[in-house]
């Protein structure tokens, strides 16, 4: 099939859809704003629920796009897509234009900027870190407080930037709970004598194997779960982090000291996705992600025929769902050209 398809974004969704497009005989260009492909996966250590090393998935995806039908253009951000006479023109920040017969948008998500939740002290107190930064510590084998100490007491604050009207995010990011469970286990594995506490509103374990992991974290690893929204974090004279929270099951306020606090940051529509949406007339939903044409029958389609979506640019989703969504986007591309014949 002598058609050109452009994929915008070389994260997991972009790489998988590019590979599937090549399998279908299309000629593919992938535009990636970073200097290398992989997206958020590059920063991750182990994946839930089976604790697979993320490098395995990364290697698979790099292999998927390593073929002559696929051209990868890095350090290239797409700012606009326009449609004329059934063809698409893609404009980049370098003001270059590329033609395509169809587009798959895979601009993914940005992590919530934790400094917006000022009460948690991110950027103010050294040992308040994000879940993404903890992954890097695991990857580098350097789980330490800023003064070099090994953290003995670690707290996880769930729902940072998710289900939070104050920051304008009503939705659940869906993956932070299970990430916290996984990371809590990993803390206990790295520092067996440590104490780990998770502070949550609800524990949402909606994926295959998640509930089992949650149970294992309690039974095998002794992770403590306290239902309550943290009100503020401060630092005491000894440099320990002091956390105030109400245990809403017991109905009592708590003040606890920690060596390290991990903020389970949620997912937001990426800035590059937002810009693309505005410049290209692509509709977004109340959650600011790209709005699917139909939640049940058109989750890969939007408001412009020939532009398709894949992965977390439409909603928060895990890696398994992202890869499946990427494949279904390619099905829609194939169907699009069949309809146009």
């Amino acid at each position: 099939m002598n058609k050109e398809v452009i994929v915008i974004g070389a994260g997991a969704a972009g790489m998988e859809s590019a590979g599937q497009l090549a399998n279908e005989g299309f000629s593919v260009k992938i535009f990636e704003k970073d200097e290398s492909p992989g997206g958020h996966l590059k920063g991750w250590y182990h994946l839930f629920p089976n604790r697979r090393d993320s490098v395995e998935v990364m290697d698979y995806l790099l292999d998927v796009i390593d073929r002559k039908e696929i051209e990868l253009l890095t350090n290239t951000t797409v700012t606009k897509v326009s449609k004329k006479d059934g063809k698409f023109v893609v404009t980049t920040t370098q003001n270059k234009e590329y033609n395509a017969d169809a587009i798959i948008v895979t601009t993914g998500f940005d992590l919530f900027r934790s400094e917006r939740k000022e009460e948690y002290g991110y950027g103010i107190y050294d040992n308040v870190i994000t879940s993404a930064e903890l992954e890097k510590m695991f990857r580098n084998g350097n789980l330490r407080c800023t003064d070099g100490r090994i953290p003995q007491k670690v707290g996880f604050i769930h729902c940072v930037g998710s289900r939070d009207e104050k920051v304008g995010n009503f939705y659940c990011s869906k993956l932070c709970c299970v990430s916290a469970v996984k990371q809590a286990i990993e803390i206990r594995e790295h520092v067996p004598e440590s104490n780990v506490f998770c502070f949550y509103m609800d524990i949402r374990m909606g994926g295959s194997g998640y509930e089992e992991l949650y149970r294992e974290s309690q039974q095998k690893y002794g992770v403590n779960y306290i239902r309550g929204k943290v009100s503020e974090v401060a630092e005491n004279y000894e440099g320990k982090l002091v956390l105030k929270v109400e245990d809403t099951l017991v109905g009592k306020p708590l003040k606890m000291e920690f060596d390290m606090l991990v903020l389970m940051v949620g997912m937001e529509m990426s800035e590059s996705g937002k810009e693309l949406a505005v410049n290209s007339g692509l509709l977004t939903g109340e959650n600011r992600f790209f709005a699917p044409a139909d939640h049940h029958f058109g989750s890969n389609k939007g408001n412009v025929d020939g532009i398709f979506y894949a992965g977390a640019c439409t909603a928060t989703m895990n890696l398994t769902e992202t890869l499946a969504h990427a494949r279904s986007a390619v099905d829609d591309v194939v169907d699009y050209f069949r309809r146009k014949k």
Partner: protein
């Protein structure tokens, strides 16, 4: 704690507010002009005579009724009309920038402005009430600043004229200041406060600019203990005191040299409850067995500029400031402490702290 520097991820630019540069319509505080009259007096002197700004106060200005409002005895429609009357006085006086001395009033003024923005029918109703009652009309102010905002704005000018710095004259080390922001300054609307609600900059900016070091302690954002109903309802006063003690105990390990506040209630309670605690159990929270002096931002600015501490009214506090004055190397007369401007002897309090 990192409040400044490139490594700081917080973008303070998000919380910088517009503060008028000149032509202020000044509204006083009920509590401050009674308990710490030197502060408001010096503010007018600083703005008018030292910084050469145009500042005006209208003698017809009254209480904003904020204490009654927060004590549930003044209805919202009443306080809106009282505030509208103040705006009418400002309009009649030819001013557009309001400078509010009291943090409670500041919270009231901003709450009402936001109410009028989101519920225009309340604005129209208030216009009608005010006109029917007084025949007056008013405009929405162009700029709303708390007076601590204004001193924050001119903190560098004050530093350039400083006679003393917040530095220990013996050791050369910066003096340690605890800053306490009134809840109604930015906790209601972070956008109206310099630095937002969680890590406000308005007082910490003054301390660091004038040579001192800001103490960050776990209960920094805790209420001073006033809390209106905590104190106004007599049966709750133990709760008020226990809140203040929570703060004092939290700041004690850092050995602060002074506490700086921008709220009349905070200043009063953090000052006078230290006296109460000393009477109750003998505890003090400062260095060398002393209590911690509690200053207003005008008083601190005045000390930095070399104004006589007794002209600033520091002798009217429960906790006396001599330990701080000595550390800063400020000269003062012990004999003149309780004398009026024309040299008459005032009464000397029997029980005060740090003397």
């Amino acid at each position: 704690m990192k409040l400044e520097g490139e490594e700081n991820k917080i973008k303070w630019a998000d919380y910088q507010k517009e503060i008028a540069d000149d032509h202020f319509f000044y509204v006083r505080s009920c509590i401050r002009q009674s308990l710490y009259p030197g502060s408001e007096q010096f503010f007018l002197n600083l703005l008018g005579n030292i910084l050469k700004k145009d500042i005006y106060e209208n003698p017809s200005h009254t209480t904003c009724t904020g204490i009654g409002y927060h004590g549930d005895v003044v209805p919202f429609s009443t306080i809106q009309t009282v505030v509208a009357r103040h705006y009418a006085l400002m309009k009649e006086s030819g001013y557009k920038n309001i400078a509010i001395s009291c943090v409670t009033s500041f919270g009231i003024y901003t709450e009402i402005l936001e109410t009028w923005k989101h519920f225009p029918e309340e604005l129209e109703k208030t216009r009608e009430y005010l006109f029917k009652a007084t025949g007056r009309e008013f405009d929405i102010p162009e700029n709303v600043s708390h007076t601590s905002d204004i001193i924050y704005k001119f903190k560098d000018e004050i530093a350039s004229m400083a006679k003393y710095r917040l530095v220990d004259k013996e050791t050369g080390e910066p003096l340690k200041g605890v800053e306490h922001i009134g809840c109604h300054y930015a906790k209601i609307f972070p956008k109206y406060g310099v630095g937002g609600a969680e890590f406000p900059q308005v007082l910490s900016g003054m301390i660091t600019t004038w040579g001192g070091e800001v103490v960050d302690y776990p209960e920094r954002r805790h209420c001073c203990g006033f809390g209106f109903r905590q104190y106004l309802v007599q049966a709750n006063r133990g709760y008020s005191l226990s809140n203040s003690i929570t703060k004092f105990e939290s700041m004690k390990p850092y050995k602060p040299d002074f506490i700086l506040t921008n709220c009349p209630g905070c200043n009063m309670f953090m000052d006078k409850w230290q006296y109460t605690v000393k009477e109750m159990n003998g505890n003090t929270y400062g260095q060398d067995g002393n209590a911690i002096p509690v200053l207003t931002y005008e008083e601190l600015a005045g000390l930095v500029l070399g104004v006589d501490p007794w002209d600033l009214g520091l002798q009217f506090h429960a906790v006396q400031s001599e330990p701080l004055l000595d550390k800063m190397g400020i000269e003062y007369s012990k004999e003149d402490k309780y004398k009026t401007i024309d040299g008459r002897q005032m009464g000397v309090p029997a029980k005060i702290l740090n003397v």
